[in-house]
């Protein structure tokens, strides 16, 4: 069974479109994250939710809006997509909200904006 799953795996879309990425974890963890990995492989946190509450909101354009309907799901909606949004987006979860916890990552969603 997949611990952290994301859909879709690949997403190719035109500039200006709106798209969503979904994430689910079956580990029973309290905290979930969205990370962005750019073309140089730098991995940067975007958002974190703990029990459906937003606890980390990095300097991310407000075109990005996360939503956590329950603690097992964290979705990412992106409005008015731009070329610079092209990247791999990783969902992750951890047992607690601490930065010392192990992060369990999903397989990633490769977003390409044309």
């Amino acid at each position: 069974d997949t611990a952290v799953s994301q859909t879709p795996k690949y997403l190719v879309t035109q500039m200006g479109n709106d798209k969503s990425i979904k994430c689910e974890q079956n580990l029973g963890h309290d905290t979930m994250y969205w990370y962005k990995q750019d073309s140089k492989k730098f991995l940067k946190i975007m958002f974190s939710y703990n029990n459906k509450e937003l606890i980390i909101n990095e300097t991310v354009p407000n075109r990005f809006s996360p939503k956590s309907p329950d603690k097992a799901h964290l979705n990412l909606h992106i409005n008015s997509l731009e070329l610079g949004d092209s990247a791999v987006y990783f969902c992750a979860s951890s047992p607690n909200r601490g930065g010392t916890d192990t992060q369990y990552f999903g397989p990633g969603t490769r977003l390409t904006v044309l």
């Binding site: 991995l43 946190i45 980390i56 990783f90 930065g99 010392t100 992060q103 990552f105 999903g106 990633g108």
Partner: protein, 111 residues
């Protein structure tokens, strides 16, 4: 400016050789983690080091946390093609609710 700088950025060596990669910071960390990421997949935790000077071994991989807790190293003995991947160090930051990642070392082991 990266809070966690990793070196080298790229490393390509022959199977059977030994190698060391480094993770350095000017800041003190309460702990550091090492992850390995294979192409098309998410990072997977290898180890967490929590005590200054600590050494942990995972088969052919040896991890060390600096005495001052500002740096860490990963030494691989007799590298194998299966060791190929992106190695990331990471540590808790700011309010300690979040983790920051280093710049990464891309390792390639040639058969």
């Amino acid at each position: 400016t990266q809070l966690l700088e990793q070196s080298p950025q790229f490393l390509s060596i022959q199977e059977g050789e030994n190698l060391t990669v480094y993770c350095n910071s000017s800041s003190v960390f309460s702990s550091l983690q090492w992850y390995r990421q294979e192409p098309g997949e998410g990072p997977v935790l290898l180890v967490t080091v929590v005590t200054g000077g600590e050494v942990k071994k995972l088969k052919r991989l040896t991890f060390q946390f600096g005495d001052a807790r500002k740096d860490s190293s990963l030494h691989i003995t007799a590298a194998q093609p299966g060791d190929t991947g992106l190695y990331l160090c990471a540590g808790p930051y700011s309010s300690a609710s979040k983790i920051i990642f280093g710049s990464g070392t891309r390792l390639s082991i040639r058969p």
